[in-house]
């Protein structure tokens, strides 16, 4: 049993870097990852910017040590999960109960799209190789098998809060004494399915997104993977590496308002943040930085901001949406932003909310426009909210 949960390793691959060091460099140098779609073959490439990982599947296959023909989702997951595990440098994990708690929303649908093209357009029978990795759980399994993480392996899919929920479950399993260690987070690759889906909802910005700006006009879809290695107190005490931070609070609540839209008062977001604070034994005033869900849609930012306004008082914590760098990586976002939270604490950074010009006038606070260094970053609140009203918040704290 462990009453405290620590972050012992981190791994990420996003549009701003193929590993944690590259991502941090881009965050510190205010370099966003949006671009015209290069690797995703879509008719919308010229009109809708996306935040792609800057590598084709061949290169990702080499980085992952996996067959490049399997789903891009699995390759991204493997690269970031392995980086996190290597970073934690636990040693012989086979002597421990080590789990892999992952999350995604698209599974191997990037390949299923080929299968559908074949059966509906070109030939009568699609290639079964294109569909064997369709299921979300299959992506997790491919990586767990490769990393030999078998004490408990599962997959959560709650839309854009998926990987915040996988980190929360991992913490609960360690606290219950069921695991010693878990690699937890999530992944999503860009696919025609999600690009067209969000496009039909009219919530994609045709320019680079402007979260928490009065003139925000939607989100940019991104892709990537982010994982943290969670360990029990006992393992943390024996770690050869410096521990990043403690996962002090977490909560999962539901907005119960609409399948895709947030309630005007952000009830689900409010409850998630409030209950995470309660779990952490912290007051709103203790939070130094909020890594916003901040997608850049009119609806999300208004609901999230309203919930923050209700829960916090002036002086408000510093806040920003790193989706202004990475785009919205959907099922990966909670994992990627957990990695960024750990880096913010270690390097005393507050990330900028890129392209912010006019803060939302309804709110008495504004996101940060510029990178801030040498800040007191003791407690970071990370928000992840998704379709289906799924709202989760995590709190990371300096040791």
């Amino acid at each position: 049993m462990s009453s405290k949960i620590y972050i012992a390793g981190i791994g990420a691959i996003t549009a701003i870097g193929n590993n944690v060091a590259q991502c941090l460099h881009a965050l510190e140098n205010e370099k966003a990852g949006m671009h015209k779609a290069t690797y995703l073959k879509t008719v919308h490439a010229t009109e809708i910017p996306v935040a792609e990982v800057k590598a084709g599947n061949e290169e990702l296959g080499l980085l992952a040590g996996m067959n490049s023909k399997i789903s891009r989702t699995a390759l991204l997951s493997m690269i970031a999960a392995k980086e996190a595990l290597d970073d934690a440098a636990i040693g012989n994990i086979q002597s421990l109960r080590a789990g892999f708690i992952s999350a995604n929303t698209v599974g191997g649908i990037d390949k299923t799209e080929n299968y559908f093209r074949n059966i509906f357009k070109e030939q009568h029978a699609g290639d079964l190789h294109d569909i064997v990795n369709h299921e979300c759980g299959r992506i997790t399994e491919l990586v767990a098998d490769k990393l030999n993480l078998h004490a408990y392996t599962t997959t959560i899919s709650t839309a854009c809060s998926s990987s915040a929920n996988s980190i929360m479950l991992a913490a609960r399993l360690i606290k219950a004494g069921m695991l010693d260690l878990a690699v937890a987070g999530g992944v999503d690759a860009l696919t025609k399915f999600t690009l067209n889906g969000f496009n039909t909802l009219l919530i994609l910005d045709n320019d680079w997104c402007k979260p928490f700006d009065e003139h925000r006009n939607g989100l940019n879809l991104g892709e990537g993977a982010g994982y943290v290695v969670l360990v029990s107190e006992k393992l943390a005490n024996h770690s050869a590496r410096e521990i990043y931070c403690e996962l002090k609070g977490y909560a999962n609540a539901n907005d119960a308002y609409h399948q895709t839209a947030s309630s005007p008062d952000g009830k689900g977001s409010y409850l998630a943040m409030q209950q995470a604070l309660q779990k952490a034994g912290l007051q709103p005033a203790d939070i130094d930085y909020i890594n916003l869900h901040g997608t850049g849609t009119h609806n999300n930012d208004l609901a999230e901001g309203t919930a923050i306004q209700r829960l916090f008082n002036a002086p408000y914590p510093k806040m920003s949406s790193t989706k202004s760098f990475t785009g919205h990586t959907l099922g990966a976002s909670g994992g990627v932003e957990a990695v960024f939270a750990a880096l913010a604490i270690r390097h005393k950074l507050i990330y900028p909310n890129l392209r912010l010009q006019t803060p939302i006038p309804e709110f008495p606070f504004a996101a940060e426009k510029k990178l801030l260094k040498n800040q007191v970053v003791d407690h970071v609140l990370s928000n992840s909210f998704g379709f289906g009203g799924n709202c989760s918040s995590l709190i990371f704290s300096k040791l």
């Binding site: 002597s95 109960r97 399994e141 599962t154 839309a159 695991l179 399915f193 539901n254 119960a256 399948q259």
Partner: protein
């Protein structure tokens, strides 16, 4: 300091709590929603693909919402409502679902239109309803339930992992009443793919003769089952779940026997104390060798029945078995289709479920009577 200092336990060893099933509801290829399976003969089909017997949803779901719901959502929401009605409870502290495939009808519809319409002029409806958490989200929306809400999508363990989360929440005292269950729908297209992979039989079969076919593959199925769980005993519980354990790709029959033995030992229950075993035998000649071996060894001298001729084979079929076991324990009566099991005169106190999906996902459940 060396890591060896950490004492090793198996994953479930620290889980000690029994949970109580207040109510249960199931939609399947049999008449389960109204419990007719216990009073009438089982439905007989000659097919390779079992569809579900759907109730009249109008009494359960608001007509406006119902129109927009695909089959998986209707089944999930109706069985969740059924649980609440039976238990006389209007809200819960958590909603946790499992689904291997998610909303296949809407996912396929959206993907097909992407291909056929070259990514142009698409309607958002199918996309909106396609996310894997739609069932849990629609239940929350119906109940205005702002509490914990989660969805597991881990193939043949999706239901088991939803149940594990529920049991963990009860152990943490983080919830009093939890709705948990699974839902999976099967489309013609998914069926054709799984058939090509050899998971389903190449020819239609009589479901009541499923276990005598000696050919490759099983009969396809689908369905939903939900349970209202509590950590505290109630006056009218159906049954209790004493323990649950999952095994991913066990090495072989000897390892499986050892797993079952260890599971029973951890519960301090000799195999002879089990009144009925319900297995995941599925009519695939290769798959069923495992069950033949278990019947000759660890399950020898215990009545053993199979359920997949009733539910069909699918990744979350174990939820049907849990519904069946809980209902047998509550009614102290076997469904008519099990009448040849030699336990007529004896009270049924303990039921062991042993399920396996595609040789990879093995699970064991122990349920007991509460009355």
């Amino acid at each position: 300091m060396a890591l060896e200092a950490i004492v090793l336990h198996s994953f479930f060893q620290n889980y000690k709590m029994k949970v109580f099933i207040r109510s249960a509801s199931c939609i399947s290829p049999q008449e389960t929603f109204n419990n007719n399976l216990f009073t009438h003969e089982a439905k007989v089909y000659n097919t390779d693909f079992l569809d579900v017997v759907e109730p009249d949803y109008k009494n359960l779901i608001d007509a406006k919402l119902l129109r927009r719901m695909s089959k998986i959502v209707r089944m999930g929401v109706a069985t969740a409502s059924g649980c609440l009605q039976q238990a006389g409870i209007t809200n819960v502290d958590a909603i946790i679902t499992g689904t291997a495939y998610g909303c296949m009808v809407d996912s396929e519809s959206f993907l097909k239109n992407i291909v056929l319409q070259e990514e142009q002029m698409l309607s958002p409806t199918a996309f909106i309803q396609s996310t894997h958490n739609t069932v849990a989200a629609q239940i929350a929306l119906m109940l205005k339930c702002h509490n914990y809400n989660n969805t597991y999508v881990h193939r043949g363990f999706s239901f088991e992992h939803a149940l594990t989360d529920a049991m963990l929440l009860l152990q943490e005292n983080a919830a009093q009443h939890i709705l948990t269950g699974s839902a999976d729908e099967l489309t013609e297209l998914t069926f054709s793919v799984l058939k090509r992979m050899g998971i389903y039989k190449q020819q239609p079969v009589n479901n009541t003769m499923l276990y005598t076919t000696a050919t490759r593959g099983s009969i396809a199925g689908q369905g939903a089952a939900f349970f209202l769980l509590s950590g505290e005993a109630g006056a009218n519980d159906l049954a209790a779940i004493n323990a649950l354990q999952t095994f991913y790709t066990p090495a072989g029959i000897t390892a499986i026997e050892q797993n079952i033995q260890n599971f029973l030992s951890a519960q301090n229950i000799p195999a002879a104390a089990v009144d009925l075993v319900i297995t995941g035998r599925n009519g695939d000649a290769d798959n069923d060798k495992l069950y033949d071996a278990l019947n000759a060894s660890i399950f020898k001298n215990i009545p053993v029945k199979a359920y997949k001729h009733l539910s069909g084979e699918y990744p979350t079929a174990a939820s049907f078995a849990v519904w069946l076991a809980a209902t047998i324990l509550q009614r102290q009566k076997l469904p008519l289709c099990f009448k040849d099991a030699p336990i007529d005169e004896k009270p049924v106190k303990k039921i062991l479920i042993y399920n396996n999906y595609q040789h990879k996902y093995h699970s064991i459940f122990l349920l007991s009577a509460t009355a």
